[in-house]
């Protein structure tokens, strides 16, 4: 009979100690909305489940000098109620809030969404487009790494077996900057993204593009930044011409698979469509902010 233990340490050090002791037979639980499904399906059989929600750093939001730090286990609902995060990183909040139902929002976290390593994770493209940074704790202390470099391939991350992700840091944005996330699902809710696109946009005083990061989800083994997007958009107005070029660049970046949720052709085409729309939304948000 498979024996499974449970611990809810109160400190990062306590959690790391448990990870070291259990030599890879442990699973960290934050919201648990993916983990419990995997357990129930018999896909994982950990010797111990380590709950990190009682660790202060992992379960709080702190405003820091150059940005905001969100504990890895903070639920989507709590992030979504945070006024300054909503105002400054709307793309991250809307991506996070798209994960599952209201019920799921009560548990699911940014950290869990990221560590699950799914190519279709909604919040990951948004975090990457907003240049978020992971804080990782392990036996040798803390280290910071870009979210973009965190996921290696489906279900695989750079986390070592005795490390945990404790928080995510969103660096402050310039004034004329905003973001958006869009995904395509067949229904209106409750589905996994067939395609997801996050856009982060910064304009100059003439409303020309100063900076842009476009990140695609569910169209490659992991969330992928559209490398040519900057070159296409920077220095230009956001209009049909620049967006059309961007759409094509997004299509070129796609390296999707055929699966039960979508086809290669569909994912590729829709990635371009959603990218254009996401940039437009971010653009509108900046202009609306300026008019306030």
């Amino acid at each position: 009979m498979h024996q499974m233990n449970f611990a809810a340490p109160k400190t990062v050090a306590g959690a790391v100690k448990l990870l070291v002791q259990n030599k890879g037979r442990s699973k960290v639980i934050a919201g648990g909305t993916d983990l419990l499904v995997q357990l129930r399906m018999g896909k994982i059989k950990p010797g111990i489940i380590i709950d990190i929600k009682n660790i202060k750093e992992a379960n709080q939001i702190t405003i820091e000098k150059n940005g905001v730090r969100i504990g890895a286990a903070v639920s989507g609902a709590v992030v979504g109620e945070h006024e300054s995060i909503k105002r400054n990183w709307p793309g991250v909040v809307e991506a996070l809030e798209l994960i599952g139902s209201t019920q799921i929002q009560g548990r699911a976290s940014l950290g869990g969404n990221l560590c699950n390593g799914s190519p279709a994770a909604d919040s990951v493209p948004a975090l990457i487009a907003n240049e978020a940074i992971c804080r990782i704790a392990g036996p040798n202390g803390k280290r910071d790494i870009k979210v973009q470099n965190f996921v290696k391939s489906p279900s695989k991350t750079i986390l070592k077996r005795d490390e945990i992700l404790t928080s995510l840091f969103l660096p402050d944005k310039p004034n004329k900057s905003s973001s958006a996330y869009l995904r395509l699902i067949p229904r209106t809710e409750m589905d996994i993204a067939v395609v997801g696109v996050a856009a982060s946009l910064t304009l100059d005083e003439n409303n020309k593009c100063l900076d842009a990061i476009i990140c695609l989800g569910a169209v490659a083994p992991k969330a992928t930044v559209v490398k040519t997007a900057k070159k296409i958009l920077v220095g230009k107005k956001i209009n049909n011409d620049s967006l059309a070029t961007l759409g094509m660049a997004c299509e070129d970046t796609c390296d999707p698979i055929n699966d039960t949720r979508g086809t290669i052709a569909y994912r590729t085409k829709v990635a371009g469509v959603l990218a254009k729309r996401a940039v437009q939304i971010a653009h509108t948000r900046i202009l609306e902010k300026a008019n306030l």
Binding site: M1, Q3, I29, T33, L36, D51, G100, T102
Partner: protein
């Protein structure tokens, strides 16, 4: 078998149970506490039949481990409405015929109550999106949405009366 001692408050009552690590809060409520009003439709968080609130937050109890609920305040369908009177949502669900087979109903009422507690005057669209995690296969949702709109109105009026009484 590793069993954990879990103390929690369920509908205001202190309870203590022993549960296995893999037992979910749903399993604990149903199999250990015999609170079977909370239903299991999928065990993957996709149907909402097991909706409860955990420290005031709406969750699927099938996606919470029993041990995670240690020290928490849990509210289930059995705690909604008083011994003598129904909650306005329970009343309007009956009046509007917002249930057919009724197996999803406890989850809908728990979820809708959590919406109305937070947002007294939601739009139809807000109700539909809030309840998107609660599946109903019988009604096509129409009458459920109408029942929630009607209950919201009753609750607002009750609140107003209470406020007025206090002001007087």
């Amino acid at each position: 078998m590793n069993k954990h001692h879990v103390s929690m408050s369920v509908n205001g009552d202190p309870v203590e149970i022993l549960c296995e690590t893999q037992q979910t809060l749903l399993d604990c409520l149903r199999d250990e506490l015999y609170l079977t009003g909370t239903k299991e439709g999928c065990s993957t968080g996709d149907c909402g039949a097991c909706s409860v609130t955990l420290n005031g937050r709406l969750v699927c109890s099938c996606l919470v481990l029993g041990v995670e609920a240690n020290g928490c305040d849990v509210q289930t369908i059995e705690g909604i409405g008083s011994e003598k009177t129904l909650h306005p949502l329970q009343k309007t669900f009956l009046e509007e015929a917002a249930l057919q087979c009724g197996v999803c109903t406890p989850g809908f009422i728990v979820a809708a109550k959590s919406l109305l507690d937070e947002k007294p005057n939601p739009s139809e669209e807000e109700i539909r999106y809030w309840l998107a995690g609660n599946l109903c296969r019988c009604t096509g949702y129409d009458k459920i949405i109408k029942a929630v709109i009607k209950a919201a109105k009753i609750m607002r009026e009750e609140n107003e009366q209470r406020t007025n009484r206090r002001a007087n």
